[in-house]
């Protein structure tokens, strides 16, 4: 199971990096979205993989680590705010510059 999750995070990271290196704003935003999935999963996994022991007192006999979950919960929401900001920035950039190249160049 650990190997599978490692593979998943690896693929998410790799694809995210590839898309971030593209020249147009929309794929870059998609790449950032993938990267934030990868980072959130990574942080979450720092509590190790535990099945069927949610950190709700009384729901089980032992519990998984609640701290990474609390960290990731706010990270997900902030990730949304960041994605929203970047996509709006790219809309504004397109309106001001007339193209959606990340450097504002229309020639390449």
């Amino acid at each position: 199971m650990e190997a599978l999750l490692a593979l998943v995070i690896g693929v998410l990271t790799g694809c995210g990096v590839y898309l971030v290196l593209r020249a147009r704003s929309f794929p870059v935003v998609l790449g950032l979205t993938l990267l934030s999935y990868a980072v959130n999963l990574f942080l979450f996994a720092s509590g190790r993989l535990v099945i069927g022991q949610p950190p709700v007192i009384g729901a089980a006999t032992s519990y998984t680590d609640p701290l990474p979950q609390a960290l990731v919960l706010t990270a997900i929401v902030i990730g949304f705010a960041m994605t929203a900001f970047v996509i709006m920035l790219s809309l504004r950039a397109r309106a001001e510059l007339g193209n959606d190249h990340v450097d504002g160049r229309s020639d390449t």
């Binding site: 995070i9 898309l19 935003v29 990574f42 949610p54 950190p55 902030i78 705010a81 790219s90």
Partner: protein, 938 residues
Amino acid sequence: MNLFLAVLTPFIGAALVAWASRRGRAHAAWSAGAVALLALALLLPAMVASFAGATTIQRLSWIPAAGLDLVFRLDGLGLLFSLLILGIGLLVILYAHYYLSAQDSLGRLYAYLLLFMGSMLGIVLSENLIQLLIFWELTSLSSFLLIAYWRRREAARRGARMALAITGAGGLAMLAGFLLLGEMTGSYELSVVLASGDTVRAHPLYGTTLALVLLGAFTKSAQFPFHFWLPHAMAAPTPVSAYLHSATMVKAGVFMLARLFPVLSGTPEWTWWVGGVGLVTLLVGAVIALFKHDLKGLLAYSTISHLGLITALFGIGTPLAAVAGVFHIINHAIFKAGLFMAAGIIDHECGTRDMRRINGLWKFMPYTATLAMVAAAAMAGVPLANGFLSKEMFFAEAVTAGGQMRFGWLLPVAVTVAGMFAVAYSLRFIHDVFFNGDPIDLPKTPHEPPRWMKVPVEILVVLCLLVGIFPAQTVEPILAVAAGAVLQGPLPAHDLAIWHGVSPALWMSVIALCGGGLLYFLRKPLFALHSRLEGRLDARAIYEQLLEGALAFARRVVSLVDTGSLQRQALLLVLAVLVLGAVGMLGGQGENAVPLTGTRPQLPLDGLSLMTGLALILVTLAATVLHRSRLTALILISAVGLVVALVFVKFSAPDLALTQLSVEVVTIILLLLALYFLPPESPAESSNSRRWRDGTVAALAGGGAALLVWAMLTRPADSLADWFLANSVPGGGGTNVVNVILVDFRGFDTFGEITVLAIAALGIFALLENLRLRGPTHDSHGGDWDVDVHPLILATFARLLLPLALLVSAFIFLRGHNLPGGGFIAGLVTAIALIMQYLANGVAWTHARLPARTHPWIAAGLSAALLTGLASLLFGRPFLTSAFGHVEVPLIGPIELASVIAFDLGVYLVVVGATLLILINLGLAHQANRFDHERKET
């Protein structure tokens, strides 16, 4: 406590005065004056105590965990400087009211002046050296603002930048010096440092420490060769020059010499460096002052010269010289502030400061002329004025000190020459301006200024004479306590009297007076000589060259990394991470080698998980391969997000799964909306080689991440989990530990995070303002985009679902403290329910039924969270301490009611407000776009 309040008062007052100035200039002046008086009143008890020899030290616990306290100290030296700062500050406030023209913002000047006043008080009342340095830097900053007050003038901006660069650099050197002092003495508190003089002087790093501290003091006090910023700072309004650049801020440097006198003085290094620099500055300043045709320029160089005199006195290092130094600080502040104000009046009345054009003003303003002449006499050191007394003490000390070394006779000679030039430039100030024929081509016809503009000058001039004629009755008590605080020991016998009998000092005074008159008489040939030599050696040119060099270097370094290409930047970033990661992974060779796989037992892999994981990988790869078709890629990525939520479900994180699910919905709606305004396809523009390069980098990054995760997951975990699990119910009153952490244990973090969310939403609002977006009118097949704008079935169901969705969200919110849920998730659910209405029924329909602006929701949410936190302070507990108890509700039964529910409500409101703000405003841009189309068609 009241010392702390006294320092704080001007800072708070600055904002108040800026606000009061909206109601008129008089309001601004009165409130600024009231602030200074209040600060003075707060200091009064400690001031009275310091006359009895007491040192008031007040401590305010600040960050006890780091051993940091705010400590303030008022002793004789602090008393003297506080009086100068507040007393002259009050006079300057009165004067500035009349000096500034109606177009200039008086409120802004007063606000800056009060900021400066607070910073300066902070310097002279600090017990802790680091704290002192913070205020020291604050004076540099407020001085920058004040010099650049007329911000449209280039000279003002340049002067401000130069002053900031020089004094800021000196401040950094002084910080290093203070750190060394702290290391040597084991404490940053002055009480300890002042008592450890022997330790410091015997330390091998004494020379370095001294040099660093002196760099700070010399730059601030405009000592040679850092003197050149002061004349350029004269671009400031004259009240500022009078206050900062003669009476107070430039005295901060000599204040440091006086403050650390018991620690650093008494060595040959001190004598040579401090005394030498002081003497050179004294001479250079006095000589240049004579040749300045600008009234303020003359006064600026004269200030430099007098600061050199004070520095030289401290450099001589005998107790008596230190007393004379303190005395001259007082005298110079009084007469030079008066002179600057008189120069301001002349400038104000004549419209120019050029002494070659201003002549014969005696006929126009005899009263102001009299005041200015008395102050100038004090500057020259004429008997009966205060400057004479301290200058004679200086002459006497120079004779004594000169008698103890080889070529010592040079010292009295140099000092007398400087005295001659001082007399000459004072004479020039009087004779050129008030006599010497008639004015030449003045922009205005001068006459006496308004009554109250002269009052501050009158007060200062009267003080000059009182101190000059009755020194023992007026200045002696305050001089005694201040000098006692400088020496930290018994005062030497000194006699403040006008007549000491016939002594060498008296002869030097006589020679200076006569020689100065002669110099002034010979000024015409001297001016001719000077104009030929001018510009040969200019410290400013060296400064400009250094500055240019530094800027060019910085530009070269930046251009190495930043080529203006985001792709290149991103690539460099990933490569840097790869290199660091590789070093970390491969670094532990040999006996340091660490196995990649840890010892933690692994979970067995089941078929369903394998299928899900492989599906996730395939969908991610497909999205990447197909990324040029943007809509396809976006839909695939939404599937990735949903599977990630499943991962959270699988591994015991129901809260995360709920959050991920709702955020995913919002994100995809947002990206879909945005995509409408962007091209549907990305052009194929990367070359094959570039794709291979990026693919390789991406594969390496992904592989590295996978290895890292593997190494982490197979190792045993050691975390704070047990503490949180054990304390969640007894300490936080909730069984959902994740929610208790969010709203209680780490509530401060959550507070920060919702603030970030709010800022992001407001930032997006600003980005979208006045944005006109062009969307396509037809899809890629040529059909109309909006055939059926709001499908009837969707609209009807969305309306029906709204109450249900809100109920679900309320349920999730209320149960959040004990079961998966809480403010974040409930907020997202509510936001989605409301966004559904916009999508199904249209913006106009929904806008008519909902508040159009969600900014107030964000504000209400942040306030709720903040107030909940502050409420616990009322009960004497730390910020955001929670309280909880059981409440019996009829029919429903016992409910656990915790104070954090109000905090969670704040989180809820911010999330709803921010999410709606973001999406609605993008929707509105869409709407505006559609109206544009419709208008075009009709």
